[in-house]
């Protein structure tokens, strides 16, 4: 309730500021779009289908990159969790590459894969891989020794321990890692589509700058915000439902 009211207040103040600005001519009118203008842009782009197309393209890239990264992170995570030598060997590599902001590699991906879909998907995959991999490996390794002991004293073999104790106990952490990875993909896709793209939300927003149409930028940003929080809420709900047994823990 308060939120709705606050939203209205925000919209109201925005309108006041923007329209007031027009009246006072404090700042060039084009720099400060009114809510009305933003809505107009939205309607226009939604109407001719280009908005839908851009959303679809971005979503496709996110989905494909994310799934690739998730699978790789899971596979490598399991290997690293189970094998100490592999872990020790990979650790310096990971610690070397991890601090480098993924966006720093974006131009490299463009060089390697050209300007097409592949570079975007590969970039999303690369960006989301590390945090998910680290998160999954950590969840697997965090398994409580007491649980392992309990299962062993109930007759578990090494294979039982892996499938019936390690994996189930790691699932909450894995799900969280996936959720965070997905959030990161959404965060980064916009930036990835600023350069060398001809479609997608990032491109849409960048066009707003190229063609000096701030209303388009604002529209794109707000839309992404709304969609992003919806997706986030959905993911959190799924996580909660799947992990009913966690309770307060």
């Amino acid at each position: 309730m308060i939120r709705a009211a606050a939203l209205l207040i925000f919209l109201g103040s925005w309108a006041v500021v923007a329209h007031g600005n027009r009246a006072l001519e404090a700042v060039p009118a084009s720099l400060l779009p009114t809510p009305g203008e933003v809505a107009t842009v939205f309607a226009a782009l939604a109407g001719d289908g280009s908005l839908a197309r851009d959303l679809l393209v971005s979503s496709r890239r996110i989905a494909e990159g994310f799934v690739l990264a998730a699978l790789a992170a899971g596979a490598l995570g399991v290997v690293v969790a189970l094998s100490a030598p592999v872990r020790l060997m990979l650790q310096p590599v990971i610690e070397f590459v991890r601090p480098i902001p993924p966006l720093a590699f974006l131009p490299m991906f463009l060089v390697w894969f050209g300007l097409g879909e592949t570079s975007k998907v590969a970039f999303i995959a690369y960006t989301t891989f590390f945090p998910m991999f680290v998160g999954m490996a950590a969840s697997l390794m965090r398994v409580d020794v007491a649980l392992l002991r309990a299962a062993a004293s109930l007759g578990a073999t090494r294979r039982d321990l892996l499938w019936r104790v390690v994996l189930p106990s790691a699932i909450p952490g894995i799900v969280t890692a996936l959720r965070l990875g997905f959030g990161l993909a959404i965060f980064v896709i916009v930036g990835a589509e600023f350069m060398g793209a001809d479609a997608g939300m990032g491109n849409l927003i960048m066009e707003g700058r190229t063609f000096f149409n701030p209303a388009q930028i604002v529209m794109g940003a707000l839309l992404l915000g709304v969609l992003g929080s919806l997706v986030h809420a959905l993911l959190v709900a799924i996580e909660r439902r799947a992990l009913r047994w966690r309770g307060a823990a």
Binding site: R149, S153, L154, G155, R164, P168, S169
Partner: protein, 258 residues
């Protein structure tokens, strides 16, 4: 149907932790023979190695010296004939009460009908039948511990190892659980090694009470508790055992805090 529990021989067991050179024995010269169906309590001050000994018998850690035999065969790792009840319960949080209890039989490949029967029997035995569908985080501490006991028993081990299982419970719940355990033991006749801090608890439950010294832990004295099955905590004989053991233990505890 009820066969007496397994026989345990602890022979000169010693355990040191720490890297080569800085070995500090936590446990030394532990030798004891336990008959089938006996209830043994390990009692001692903190750090006396009683949990360590239990973990060695359970097969979780190897002894530095000596060995443990179960029914004549040496222990080299954990096994289903030695069930364990942990102080921190160690219930699988993603499984319900019933699923936790049937975990062992499931691993052993018992058919579903048999598993259902085992679950019903042991969940009932600990009085949690109405809660069989709940998850551990929905249960109180006492209830969780009961599930842990049911889970260990449902796997039909011949030996049950319990590491301060009632340590985290409040005083009232604790006494109720002691009664429960005594009642179950009369039904099941397992060999039990029970680690505790509480003299009262040891005298109430044990056939024999082993008092250990402070670190490095050794067996100081072994008391045979010659009391009837159903024990009265306020009987003079009971109190007599309590004071005897307290006297022996006090030296150790006092010295430990010196």
């Amino acid at each position: 149907m009820i066969a007496p529990g397994g026989r345990i021989q602890i022979e000169n067991v010693e355990k040191s932790f720490g890297a080569n050179g800085h070995a500090m024995p936590a446990l030394m010269d532990a030798t004891l023979e336990i008959q089938g169906g006996e209830f043994i309590c390990l009692l001692g001050p903190s750090g006396c190695g009683k949990s360590t000994l239990l973990n060695i018998v359970a097969g979780f850690i190897p002894p530095t010296r000596g060995r443990v035999l179960v029914d004549g065969r040496p222990v080299t790792g954990p096994g289903r004939e030695r069930g364990v009840v942990f102080q921190e319960y160690a219930l699988f949080p993603w499984l319900t009460v019933a699923e936790n209890v049937e975990f062992g039989p499931r691993l052993a490949g018992r058919p579903p009908a048999e598993r259902r029967e085992l679950v019903a029997r042991y969940v009932g035995m600990v009085g949690l039948s109405e809660h069989r569908g709940k998850f551990p985080n929905q249960l109180s501490g006492g209830m969780r511990q009961r599930v842990a006991i049911a889970r260990a028993l449902a796997n039909t081990p011949s030996i049950v190892l319990m590491d301060e299982p009632f340590g985290a419970l409040d005083a009232q719940t604790r006494e109720v659980m002691q009664d429960e355990l005594a009642r179950i033991q009369r039904l099941e006749l397992k060999t039990i090694i029970f680690v505790t801090h509480s003299i009262r608890e040891a005298v109430y439950l044990g056939d024999r009470v082993v008092v250990m010294t402070r670190s490095p832990g050794r067996f100081k004295e072994v008391f045979s508790i010659k009391l009837p099955q159903a024990r009265d905590r306020f009987a003079p004989e009971f109190t007599h055992y309590e004071s005897e053991i307290t006297r022996v233990l006090k030296d150790e505890v006092g010295a430990a805090h010196a």
